[in-house]
């Protein structure tokens, strides 16, 4: 893994928030690297998975603190970049799809204009180019009548369409890395399949790197290539996604066992017994 060129290398990433009772560590010493692959990050709410995603874009609001030994995008150090330089990276080279389209789209601007804006902020070109690109992206995310959706406002769309529009917008500038934070948890299962396959295709065809943040273990194990399992701000285990069901760490095992399963009925579900030691243990790095 190490000799191959990675899109992203993260070493010892910390996210901290000052509170009345001292610093609170939301992410504690996480290290990983991302190639042209689908990397899943799973964990419960509060485990720091979304914070990790945001920290990669340095989108942690003050007074929050982001620290890392190394955070390299194709060998370029992102920690030393100024806010202005970061703005050039956000959206263009690394973009992020948030969980809920309802809160992430501007309600008073048409979808088409929003996608055009995302594109023309980063690419020089005429308005006609931007429009053509927006239409192309809407088609790429399998929206049936892009002409109509282009003129529509966010409230005129269903959740699934909204989410696809978000993806279209994020992909318009052709990013190298897409961070998707629970992109499908607000969607119905059938739409979820479509949204996933769009992202899947982009990884396969464009060689994009995808960080897929989710709490759905089944989904991650079938969709991703590799998985990081987070607990209390640390990575407790990493494994190949299709081997997730053979995971060894007691936390991962506990999560898996607490899931009801159609194929393996049982009378009672196992309840996760938490161990204080998991909280204190060192973060596992994924260098294999």
């Amino acid at each position: 893994m190490s000799d191959k060129k990675n899109l992203l290398d993260v070493e010892d990433l910390w996210v901290q928030f000052p509170t009345r009772s001292g610093l609170f560590d939301a992410v504690r010493g996480v290290s990983f690297s991302l190639g042209k692959e689908r990397l899943g990050i799973v964990g419960e709410s509060g485990s720091g998975k979304s914070m990790t995603g945001r920290a990669l874009l340095r989108l942690i609001r003050k007074p929050g603190i982001v620290k890392a030994k190394r955070m390299d995008l194709l060998g370029e150090n992102m920690m030393s970049k100024t806010e202005k330089e970061m703005r050039a990276i956000r959206g263009q080279r690394i973009s992020m799809v948030m969980q809920d389209p309802k809160f992430s789209l501007n309600p008073v601007v048409t979808v088409g204009e929003q996608i055009m804006e995302a594109y023309s902020l980063h690419a020089k070109g005429s308005k006609a180019d931007a429009k053509a690109k927006a239409m192309e992206m809407l088609k790429a995310v399998m929206i049936r009548d892009p002409e109509r959706v282009f003129r529509a406002y966010p409230h005129e769309m269903s959740g699934g369409m909204g989410q696809r529009v978000m993806i279209a917008m994020m992909l318009a500038p052709d990013p190298e890395i897409l961070i998707a934070d629970e992109p499908t948890s607000a969607l119905d299962v059938s739409v979820q399949g479509q949204v996933l396959s769009i992202m899947d295709k982009l990884v396969e065809e464009r060689g994009m790197g995808l960080i897929f943040i989710s709490h759905d273990l089944n989904l991650v194990s079938t969709f991703c290539d590799r998985v990081l399992i987070m607990y209390a701000g640390r990575v407790v285990e990493t494994c190949q996604a299709d081997k997730l069901h053979e995971a060894k760490h007691p936390y991962t095992r506990g999560l898996l066992n607490s899931l009801p399963r159609l194929d393996k009925p049982k009378k009672r579900l196992e309840v996760l017994q938490r161990d204080e030691a998991w909280r204190e243990a060192e973060s596992v790095s994924d260098s294999q």
């Binding site: 709410s45 059938s190 479509q194 899947d200 079938t222 607490s258 899931l259 009801p260 159609l262």
Partner: protein, 255 residues
């Protein structure tokens, strides 16, 4: 004791060209003491059926017989003693300025119980919370603890039938397991009848004996849990839901 029998239920919202038929000619039967699931995607009308039973939607037609009572437009206080509902979002269904004690005592008082003090502590014990939580406010509770309070509130009038509207969809899987176990235990102890709505087929498969699959307001299939596990379905849509719930399959989604 009797369960739930619904025949030809129609529910609609709005009128004129804004009319939406949310539930179309739905019929189902839940014998007393059993557990019945309703699954479907958002907007398929599954929650609307529960809300119609509870008298929370104004316009409906058809026949609903719940806990031995033929339902008309109005619900009597006696009805709510027999039938209670647990809502989806424990963050929204508890009053933020009422302590757990207030929530439960008020419910008990309104239903005309005596010995309220003892009953509140018994209810808290029953849902696994204990006395420490009695004087807390919702913001001092985790999501799972809040849902336990919501369940305690539903159990307060000692109902026969519980309507569960996605009771665990806002919770983490480990907490979901605790709440589902609690619901299974309570049903065994109190011989409750459950009617449960969920979009998660595995959850419904764990909890229920029979499952109705809904699509666009219609019940397309009623299937036993054994047949569901064996993928033995008659309707294409049920099959599609089952496949999708198993996770992501690389080529299926591209169609």
């Amino acid at each position: 004791m009797s369960g739930v029998r619904i025949e030809g239920l129609n529910v609609w919202f709005g009128k004129g060209h804004d009319l939406v038929n949310a539930v179309i000619d739905a019929s189902l039967e839940v014998p007393a003491g059993s557990s019945f699931g309703l699954v479907g995607e958002s907007g398929s009308g599954k929650s609307t059926i529960l809300r119609a039973m509870m008298g929370l939607v104004p316009d409906w037609s058809g026949k609903m017989n719940v806990a031995g009572e033929e339902l008309s437009k109005e619900r009597t206080p006696a009805f709510y003693k027999k039938v209670q509902m647990v809502f989806q979002d424990p963050y929204a269904s508890l009053h933020p300025r009422h302590s757990v004690d207030q929530v439960l005592s008020e419910t008990l008082f309104l239903h005309g119980f005596d010995n309220i003090d003892q009953r509140v502590s018994k209810l808290l014990d029953d849902v696994g919370l204990g006395g420490d939580f009695r004087f807390r406010y919702p913001h001092q509770l985790s999501g799972g603890q809040r849902q336990r309070v919501a369940i305690a509130r539903a159990l307060a009038p000692e109902p026969q039938i519980l309507l569960l509207d996605e009771p665990t969809s806002a919770l983490d899987v480990s907490v979901q397991a605790e709440i589902l176990n609690l619901l299974v235990d309570l049903r065994a102890e109190r011989q409750l009848t459950y009617l449960m709505v969920s979009h998660d087929l595995a959850v419904v498969g764990h909890m229920c004996d029979h499952i109705a699959v809904m699509q666009l307001g219609k019940i397309v299939e009623i299937i036993s849990v054994e047949n569901m596990r064996a993928m033995n379905t008659k309707h294409e849509y049920t099959r599609h839901l089952l496949l999708a719930s198993a996770g992501y399959t690389r080529d299926e989604a591209l169609e």
